[in-house]
Amino acid sequence: MKKGQAPRALYIHIPFCTNKCHYCDFTSYVLKGQPVDAYLDALEREMERTVKLMPTDVIDTVFVGGGTPTVLTPPQMDRFLSSVKAYFPLSEHVEFTMEANPGTTDIDKLTAMREGGVNRISFGVQSFDNGLLERIGRIHNVDDVYRSLENARKVGFNNLSIDLMFGLPKQSLEQLADSVRKALELELPHYSIYSLKVEENTLFHKLYERNELPLPPEEEEFNMFVLLMNMLKQNGFKHYEISNFAKPGFESRHNSTYWRNEPYYGLGAGAHGYANRVRHMNIKGVQPYIDATLEKLPRLESFDISEKEAMEDFMMVGLRLLDGVRSSHFSKQFDGQSLEAKFGGIIDKLIKDGLLERVELASDIGYRLTDQGVLLGNEVFGAFIEL
């Protein structure tokens, strides 16, 4: 990204949930009693301030995350989606994703989403094992999953994705295999399958500190990862990012913005954005966020990203994509500078260690993770960060 290039990707955060999951440290508040309408007003104010300060010609991707965006009622949903369209020039081919939790999507709501422009839904399924779902604090069950997906299809959504988790407390390899099998039977075009990470300020963290969180050992987690990669591959999915698998043409374009280190708007309580080499994080609390939008952009903090840091980020996020990074993209983002001149030594070492490989393209050079590199990605990403 050259300085000054306007974002073409838009992230909006809806910080409400019906309850809080044991592993979640996102900005989210239990819905009951929350000023949802006032929050939607505030979002509109932030949209207005944002496009005024930094207008864009076109938005290629929108991602509405949470929290659980689908806790909005159909009228709220309708009103929210209208405001997005009113302030942002959405492309004709926009990828418009909304996160949803099974059990929060009836036909009416799905219809409101569809009519409001949403064309992709990412369901937080996490597992097809009711016992495990309960253990991680999810309120839905497996039947909700099937019903929600059936409804989504009925209303006309075909670009659907589900999230699954592995490395959950007491999860066995067989349980994971079973969940992946059931997920594949749904014949969706996209799956996100990621390992549990115990974040601070979560119930799981507390349990972990007390030694009461029976996580599978590294060896078992390794086996799970290898198993699920094989299963997805055998079913014709492309492993296109560390935790993401898609049928050709169904890769998440929005998330690819992050991975290519390109700019994006971030709106809503606790949202992150990146533009003009500035990263920002919004105020997290709902009411403080609402109040702040009355006066200004509701920033909690903003910090400048130096060119050096931006270059490191380029490698750190870019190598998450299994196609890797390209020298030409690097030069384009950094005023013609050469990737090899900047990181040649580190790359050579990683190649020697068998974690990275060089790809000769027609008129370009690329670097990507080897199979071993995918398993030990942090060793690769970390190598580019200079303290």
Partner: protein, 605 residues
């Protein structure tokens, strides 16, 4: 000259003897405050402990001497000098020299805990120096205080009259005036002839970037002033005095230091080594016939290797050591190299605490991340060809075939402990190859147990084990008692098949197996998983005696990129990287700093 003699009568030089934690620094602060040497506003807790490190650890490392004026109840104004002394066994010699500069000492004993081994050792030092001892029972405001019992203990154990012991609480400011009154009435004024040739005892020094070495002295005979030509009797070095002064508590120049005074001398001295603690300063022209007694060279007891983690820091490390040496006559260093660690220095210290302090100061004040190898004592080795050598680095240990015999240093350890723990102490000392000397009852409840123990065992984990096996009730002191023949072997450690010289240790043959196993297990815990399997082996000669394996890392990759929160991901990777920075690449293996000290941290069955 009557002025000088009158003044001399009003001088009282005293130090404070106390066990760590018994409140010495707080008491010193209160005395300064009470005599107005510092206003309350200037007071920062523990003024006498200058270095941050001292303040943090709550211990005194360098000595300081503060001149105070005190108007006593008799209406006279007295000139008091409080000489602060280190409380740790590593610095016993420095304590003894600073005591030689005094006529009296406050014996501070915790009203709840009673006398501890270190206190006792220092009381004996004070008695050796014929000091008048003023007992002070501190912390009397504690609910657990038992001043009567402690008084009795002082009488029984030391044989001092404790009937007039001051009951004080330095923290609460209780008893400070009484202490000062007793100093005035009980501590004798300095004797010594003001007209005799100069005899000044050096009890400390520090290096100042502008003035050179500043020598801390006590004038025993005669006087000294700017322009005097002086001679250091042990080293023979001669200088001309530029300035003399006192600590009030900041350095203040005066016209002259006369008999009985404690102060400093500036004489354009470039090297601390010329000014050894314990040496006597006299006049070049009118030399004293005899130096003051008690001078001895301080020799390091413990050696270790200090290596920069980043090889490019080598020169900075050399400079850091040069600077520290200016202030620390006991520190020794010389360049050495290790196959595993590259270029570094072999350094000699008075003891483990001294070693830790130097290491921490280098890391903090000079910002050089270090690898410290396991400390070693000095072994005396005699070869089959009759040659003998001293070994302070295990990697220089000769191969078994060339070895006739080897001797290791022993200390006489005195441990004071409540009755109930006698068994535990004996067990510990036996396990540390100790040899029982005797046991004496201090009172009905507490015992002094003496043992001969190899110094290397003390250097290992004796302190920690002593603490844990007595719930912290034991106190401990030791002094070098000589060399003895021992059945020792060199044990090597191999990582991924490569011997790491910096991890070699010298151990008693009977302990080699246990210690080898302990080290391998500890290494396995400390060395993070690498991208390949790393065998850890301990061997004596060619025989492998223990083996563990650090399994290969299988999976280490962050999951999702949540809502574009790149900075969180970055922080995580930065943390991972920060950890690696503290590691040293040894061959193909990344070894964390603390692994090189692992030998000290093992549990032996």
């Amino acid at each position: 000259m009557t002025d000088v003699r009158d003044r001399q009568k009003k001088i009282r030089n005293f130090s404070i003897i106390a066990h760590i934690d018994h409140g010495k620094s707080t008491l010193a602060d209160r005395i300064l405050e009470y005599t107005g040497a510092l206003t309350a506003r200037e007071m920062q807790s523990q003024v006498l402990d200058k270095m941050d490190l001292e303040r943090e650890r709550g211990i005194t490392i360098k000595l300081t001497a503060v001149r105070l004026t005190y108007k006593a109840d008799d209406g006279e104004e007295y000139l008091l000098t409080l000489i602060d002394t280190p409380g740790h066994v590593d610095f016993t010699y420095e304590v003894s020299r600073s005591m030689a500069a005094c006529e009296g000492a406050l014996l501070v004993v915790d009203a709840a805990q009673g006398i501890e081994a270190q206190t006792l050792a220092n009381v004996y030092l004070a008695l050796d120096n014929s000091l008048e001892i003023v007992p002070v029972i501190n912390k009397i405001d504690l609910p657990s205080a038992e001043p009567e019992r402690v008084k009795q203990e002082i009488e029984d154990v030391i044989g001092l009259d404790a009937s007039e012991a001051v009951l004080a609480s330095a923290k609460a400011g209780i008893g400070i005036k009484e202490i000062l009154e007793q100093v005035v009435s009980k501590v004798p004024a300095p004797t010594g002839d003001p007209d005799a040739p100069l005899k000044a005892l050096i009890f400390d020094s520090h290096y100042d970037a502008y003035k050179g070495v500043i020598v801390y002295v006590r004038i025993m005979e005669g006087s000294i002033k700017p322009g005097s030509k002086i001679r250091f009797m042990a080293t023979g070095a001669e200088f001309e005095v530029i300035e003399v002064g006192m600590f009030m508590p900041s350095m203040t120049t005066v016209k002259e230091l006369a008999v009985g005074d404690v102060g400093f001398v500036v004489a354009g001295i470039k090297n601390v080594k010329d000014t050894r603690v314990g040496d006597t300063i006299t006049e070049s022209k009118r030399q004293a016939p005899e130096p003051l007694p008690g001078y001895r060279r301080i020799n390091p007891m413990v050696y270790c290797g200090l290596y920069p983690i980043e090889t490019q820091d080598y020169n900075d490390l050399r400079e850091a050591l040069e600077k520290l040496e200016l202030n620390d006559a006991a520190l020794r260093y010389e360049p050495e190299s290790s196959t595993a660690l590259g270029f570094g220095f072999r350094c000699g210290f008075l003891g483990l605490l001294h070693m830790e302090i130097i290491q921490e100061r280098i890391e903090r004040e000079f910002n050089i991340p270090l690898i410290t190898t396991a400390p070693s004592v000095i072994y005396k080795v005699t070869l089959t060809n009759g040659e003998s050598m001293e070994i302070d680095n295990p990697s220089n240990y000769p191969e078994a075939g060339k070895l006739e015999y080897v001797e290791e240093p022993y200390v006489k350890a005195a441990i004071i402990v409540p009755n109930d723990y006698v068994g535990a102490i004996m067990e510990l000392c036996q396990a540390k190859r100790g040899e029982f000397i005797n046991m004496e009852y201090l009172d009905t409840n507490r015992v002094t147990i003496s043992y001969h123990v190899p110094l290397s065992e003390i250097v290992y984990d004796f302190f920690d084990q002593l603490k844990s096996s007595t719930k912290g009730y034991a106190s401990f002191d030791y002094e070098l008692s000589g060399y003895r023949r021992s059945n020792l072997v060199k044990m090597d450690i191999m990582l991924n098949g490569e011997q790491v010289d910096a991890l070699s240790v010298i151990v008693h043959r009977d302990r080699a197996y246990n210690r080898g196993r302990g080290i391998c297990q500890k290494m396995k815990e400390l060395i993070p998983r690498q991208m390949f399997e790393v065998p850890v082996q301990a061997s004596v000669g060619t025989k492998v005696i223990a083996r563990e394996t650090v399994k290969a890392m299988r999976k280490n990759v962050l999951a999702k990129c949540y809502g574009g929160d790149i900075s969180r991901k970055r922080k995580l990777l930065e943390k991972q990287k920060e950890g690696k920075k503290r590691m040293k690449q040894v061959g193909s293996v990344e070894v964390p700093q603390e692994a090189f000290m692992a030998v000290l941290k093992i549990d032996e069955d």
